[in-house]
C-alpha cells in the first residue's frame, strides 16, 4: 500500500510538473482598432494601443455581474462631508521591473493627464469631479492644487468638488503610470515593447504597429486579484471585422469571432452552443437642436418619440443585434428603471395628434429634414445605417414627413452636433463607467448636445451628489421623466454584440451572467483573466 501511495504521489507530482509545461495555452482574440499610438491608457484613450489597459491594474473594476470589485485598492472610504475619498492600496504590488507600485504612481498618472493634453481629460472632470481639475487642464491653476494626494505609499486621497457617491466606479479607469520610468524616458516609454513596464495581470511580449496587434503573456510579477489563467494572449485587430474574423475562426486560426447580421444564422446553426451575446451598455438615440425650428416645438419632438416601433425595428431589420431602448439607461445598468422604459411605446395615433398640435396635421407643411449619423465600424456600423432607413420609412408612414439621411465621418458629425449645423441626429453613446450619472451627464448643463434644461440640470446635480442610493435613483428617474415630457431625445435601441466562441474555451468568463450576457466585448480585465483554454 505504501509503495502504491508513493507511486501515486510521484505520478501526481510528475503530472503537476509536466502538464503546465506542456500545456502552454494561447488564445487568439480579435482586437478593435488597427491603429494605436501609445501603450498607455493614461496618455491617450481614443488612440491607445491594443489592450494597453490590460497591462496595468486599475484601482477597481467590474466583474461579470457588473459589480464593482477592488483591484489595486484593498478598500475605500468616504469622509463625513462626502467630499474626500480615501483609497487603501494592496501591499506587495510591483511593476514588472521590480519597483514597488505605490500611491504616487496613481497620483502621478492623473497629474500628468491633467497637464499633458490627455484626450480623456474630460472624464475626470465630468465623471470624477476632482477638485481643481478644470482649472488645471485649462492652465489657470497649478497642478499642485489638484484634489489628489499620495498620503503614504499605500494611501491615496481624492477630493471632489461636490460629494461623489459613485467615485469608486469612476476609478475603474484609473490606471497607474510608472513615474520612475517616465522620469527617465518621458512619454516615449510607452512607444516600444522594450521600455513598457506593466503592473497588471499581463506583460507585453510584442506589438506590431502596422496593425496594432499585440502578444501578451501572463505576468509573473503581478500579485493582485484576478491573475491570468492563460499563458499567452494574441490579439489581432484585423480579426475584429467579422468578415475576416469568422473565416479565421472557422479555419481554427482564432478562438472566437464577432458576427455580423448575415453570419448570425449560419454560425447559430453550426455552433448552437458557441453563440454568446455581449452587453456593451450603449444606447442609440435621436437628439435635436432644441433652438431651431421645427424641433424647438415640444409637440414635434413628442410626436417623434411615439412614432418608433422599436420591437419591430430590432426584430426585423436589426436581426436582434440590438434590443429596444425605452430609457437612456440599458437594462441591467445601475439605476435602470423599467417603469420609465415602459413609457416609450409605439403609438401612431398619439404621434399624429402631437404633429397636428404642432400645426403639421399629417405632416402637412413640415419642412424636409435630414438626419445625420456618423460613419463608423463595430456594432454601431452594423446597426445605425439600417436603423436610419427604417426610421425614414416609419416617419414617412406615421408622421407623413420626408426625412433624408446623411452619413458623415466621425469628426464632421461631432462638429455638426456641437456647432448645431443640423437639427436632428442619431447619436450613439456607450458607457464609460457603470453609474447612471454617466448617461444623465451627457445632457447635463450643455454637455454633449448643448441642452440647457434648468429643471433637469437641478435634479441631476442633486442626484449626482446624493449619498442615499434609493433617493439617488429616484432623482435620476425624475430627471428622465423631464426628458420624456419635453421630448429631449428618442431612445431607439441598445446595441449588443454577438460572437461565436470555440468549445475549447472555458472558465467563468465563457458563460453568460444572470442577464444572459457575456463580456467578450467589454470588461477586459474580468474577461481575459477568467478565461481558460483546454
Amino acid at each position: 500500500m505504501k509503495a502504491f501511495n508513493t507511486f501515486v504521489g510521484a505520478l501526481a507530482v510528475a503530472t503537476a510538473l509536466t502538464i503546465p509545461a506542456l500545456a502552454q495555452t494561447t488564445i487568439v482574440a480579435p482586437g478593435s482598432s488597427t491603429t494605436g499610438t501609445y501603450m498607455d491608457y493614461m496618455k491617450t484613450v481614443y488612440d491607445r494601443a491594443t489592450f494597453a489597459e490590460l497591462l496595468q491594474v486599475p484601482i477597481a473594476t467590474f466583474d461579470k455581474e457588473f459589480e464593482l470589485t477592488p483591484m489595486a485598492a484593498e478598500s475605500w472610504s468616504q469622509s463625513a462631508d462626502g467630499l474626500t475619498w480615501t483609497f487603501k492600496l494592496r501591499p506587495g504590488l510591483v511593476w514588472s521591473d521590480g519597483e514597488p507600485l505605490t500611491a504616487t504612481d496613481y497620483v502621478f498618472a492623473l497629474q500628468r493627464a491633467a497637464t499633458g493634453g490627455y484626450d480623456f481629460a474630460w472624464y475626470w472632470d465630468f465623471a470624477g469631479g476632482i477638485k481643481g481639475w478644470k482649472e488645471v487642464t485649462e492652465g489657470t491653476a497649478d497642478v499642485s492644487t489638484l484634489g489628489l494626494k499620495a498620503v503614504d505609499d499605500l494611501t491615496i486621497e481624492v477630493t471632489t468638488v461636490a460629494p461623489k457617491p459613485y467615485l469608486p466606479s469612476v476609478t475603474s479607469l484609473w490606471y497607474p503610470v510608472p513615474k520612475h520610468v517616465v522620469d527617465k524616458l518621458g512619454d516615449d516609454w510607452a512607444l516600444n515593447v522594450d521600455t513598457v513596464v506593466t503592473s497588471g495581470p499581463f506583460d507585453l511580449e510584442s506589438w506590431e504597429k502596422s496593425n496594432n496587434a499585440v502578444v501578451l503573456t501572463k505576468s509573473d510579477t503581478y500579485t493582485g486579484p484576478w491573475q491570468a489563467q492563460i499563458d499567452r494572449l494574441e490579439v489581432d485587430p484585423s480579426l475584429g471585422a467579422p468578415e475576416v474574423g469568422l473565416p479565421a475562426f472557422l479555419a481554427g486560426d482564432a478562438d472566437y469571432s464577432f458576427l455580423n447580421t448575415g453570419q448570425v444564422p449560419v454560425a447559430t446553426q453550426r455552433y448552437p452552443d458557441g453563440i454568446r451575446k455581449n452587453a456593451v451598455f450603449a444606447t442609440s438615440y435621436i437628439s435635436y437642436d432644441l433652438d431651431s425650428a421645427p424641433f424647438n416645438d415640444v409637440n414635434v419632438r413628442r410626436a417623434f418619440y411615439y412614432a418608433v416601433n422599436r420591437a419591430e425595428l430590432t426584430s426585423t431589420v436589426l436581426k436582434d443585434i440590438a434590443i429596444p431602448a425605452g430609457s437612456i439607461l440599458p437594462p441591467g445598468y445601475p439605476g435602470y428603471n423599467p417603469d420609465i422604459a415602459a413609457e416609450a411605446v409605439f403609438d401612431p395615433e398619439k404621434a399624429k395628434q402631437f404633429m397636428a398640435d404642432a400645426g403639421f396635421p399629417n405632416g402637412e407643411g413640415f419642412p424636409e429634414i435630414e438626419i445625420w449619423y456618423r460613419e463608423e465600424g463595430g456594432y454601431n456600423g452594423a446597426i445605425v445605417p439600417p436603423m436610419a432607413q427604417y426610421l425614414q420609412a416609419q416617419f414617412k408612414d406615421v408622421l407623413g414627413i420626408t426625412m433624408n439621411i446623411r452619413v458623415l465621418p466621425g469628426a464632421d458629425w461631432m462638429d455638426g452636433l456641437r456647432n448645431k449645423k443640423n437639427n436632428i441626429f442619431i447619436a450613439p453613446y456607450e458607457y464609460d463607467y457603470l453609474d447612471p450619472s454617466n448617461f444623465y451627464g451627457i445632457f447635463f448643463n450643455g454637455g454633449r448636445h448643448g441642452y440647457h434644461i434648468a429643471e433637469y440640470d437641478a435634479l441631476v446635480a442633486k442626484a449626482d451628489s446624493e449619498s442615499d442610493w434609493d433617493t439617488r435613483y429616484k432623482l435620476y428617474a425624475e430627471a428622465e421623466q423631464i426628458m420624456i415630457d419635453q421630448g429631449l431625445i428618442v431612445p431607439l435601441v441598445h446595441p449588443i454584440t454577438i460572437a461565436v466562441i470555440s468549445d475549447t474555451l472555458g472558465g467563468d468568463a465563457s458563460t453568460p451572467n444572470k442577464l444572459g450576457f457575456t463580456s467578450l466585448d467589454r470588461l477586459g480585465h474580468y474577461f481575459f483573466t477568467h478565461l481558460t483554454k483546454q
Binding site: T35, T37, S210, S238, E243, A251, G410, A411, D415, R448
Partner: protein, 309 residues
C-alpha cells in the same frame, strides 16, 4: 531623346508641385482636425496645446512651406497615429508586405495572363479562347474581396491546406498573392488577346508566313513584340498599384501593409502621413509614365519622339 527626357522631367516637377498644393489645401479643407473625432470634446485649452505641439496653429501657407521644405530634405514629418517613428520609417516598415504581396502578385499574374491571352488569340474561337475569356472576365468583374473570401473558404476552411489569414510565414503568403495575382492575370489576358489578334491580322504576318518562317518564330519574334505597346501601357501603372498595396486584399488576409494607412490617415486627419502617401503616389505615377514613354520608344521605333526622320 535626352531633350525629350529633360522636358518630361520638368513637367514631372511642375506636376509634383501643383499636385502637392491641391492635396495640401484639399486635406485641410475637410472640416475637423486630428483631435475632433471623439465622443466627448477635448477642452479648448487641451486642444490648443495639442495643435500647437504639432504646429497646426500656424497659418496654412506657413504649414505648407514648412512641410515642403522638409520634403525637399526627405523629411516627411512624424505620423500622428504612430508618434514613435518618422513617416519615412513607417512607410519603409509597412511597405515591405505590400511590395511582397503586390510585386509577387504582378510578377506571377502578368506572365500567366500573357500566356493565357496568347493561347486564346492563337486558338481563336476554340474552347481555350472561351475558357480564357471567361476567366479574364470573371477576374475583372468579381470584386477581389469576394475572390479572397472564396479562396479562404476553399483552401482554409474546407480543405484546411493553408492558413486563412495572417502574414509572416511564407505559407501565409500563398492565398493573398493568389487573390492579388488574379487582377493582373485577367487584365493581361484580355489585353494580350486583343493586341495579338490585331497584330496577327496585319499584312506583314501574312508576308512572314509566305516567307516560310515557322509559326513559333512569327509569334514570339514578331507578333509578340508588335503587340507589346498596350502591355507596356498598363504594366507600370499596375506596378504602382502593387506598391501602394491593395486595401481589400490586405484587410481580408490581415496583411500588415500600407493599404490601411491610406484610409486611416484621412480618417484620423494624420496630415503628415496623408501628404506623404499622396506625394509618393504622384511621384511614382510621374516616373512610371516617363519610363513607359521611354520603353515605347525603345521597343517601337515608329513612335520614337521626333521620329519623322
Amino acid at each position: 531623346m535626352l531633350s525629350f527626357i529633360l522636358r518630361r522631367l520638368v513637367s514631372v516637377a511642375a506636376t509634383f508641385i501643383i499636385v502637392s498644393l491641391i492635396i495640401f489645401f484639399m486635406m485641410h479643407s475637410i472640416p475637423g482636425g486630428p483631435f475632433d473625432a471623439n465622443d466627448m470634446p477635448v477642452s479648448e485649452a487641451v486642444r490648443a496645446k495639442l495643435m500647437a505641439n504639432l504646429g497646426l496653429d500656424q497659418p496654412l501657407y506657413v504649414q505648407y512651406f514648412r512641410y515642403m521644405w522638409g520634403v525637399l530634405h526627405f523629411d516627411f514629418g512624424v505620423p500622428y497615429q504612430s508618434p514613435g517613428e518618422t513617416v519615412t520609417q513607417l512607410l519603409s516598415r509597412a511597405w515591405v508586405p505590400s511590395l511582397v504581396l503586390g510585386g509577387l502578385g504582378v510578377l506571377i499574374g502578368a506572365p500567366l495572363g500573357i500566356l493565357l491571352g496568347m493561347a486564346a488569340a492563337l486558338n481563336r474561337n476554340s474552347w481555350i479562347d472561351y475558357l480564357a475569356s471567361t476567366l479574364a472576365t470573371l477576374g475583372l468583374t468579381i470584386p477581389v474581396f469576394v475572390t479572397s473570401m472564396l479562396l479562404i473558404l476553399v483552401f482554409a476552411v474546407w480543405l484546411n491546406w493553408l492558413p486563412a489569414s495572417g502574414w509572416g510565414k511564407p505559407e501565409r503568403w500563398i492565398l493573398p498573392i493568389t487573390a492579388y495575382a488574379l487582377i493582373p492575370l485577367a487584365t493581361y489576358a484580355r489585353y494580350t488577346r486583343s493586341a495579338m489578334l490585331d497584330t496577327l491580322n496585319r499584312p506583314f504576318v501574312t508576308v512572314l508566313r509566305a516567307k516560310g518562317l515557322t509559326e513559333r518564330r512569327i509569334v514570339f519574334q514578331h507578333v509578340l513584340r508588335n503587340s507589346a505597346i498596350p502591355l507596356v501601357t498598363v504594366f507600370l501603372p499596375m506596378f504602382i498599384g502593387t506598391a501602394t498595396g491593395s486595401i481589400f486584399v490586405e484587410a481580408m488576409f490581415r496583411v500588415p501593409g500600407l493599404g490601411a494607412y491610406f484610409v486611416s490617415s484621412i480618417e484620423t486627419r494624420d496630415y503628415p502621413l496623408e501628404m506623404a502617401l499622396m506625394l509618393m503616389i504622384t511621384f511614382m505615377y510621374c516616373i512610371a509614365y516617363l519610363l513607359s514613354d521611354i520603353v515605347y520608344a525603345l521597343i517601337n521605333p515608329r513612335i520614337r519622339v521626333g521620329g519623322g526622320q
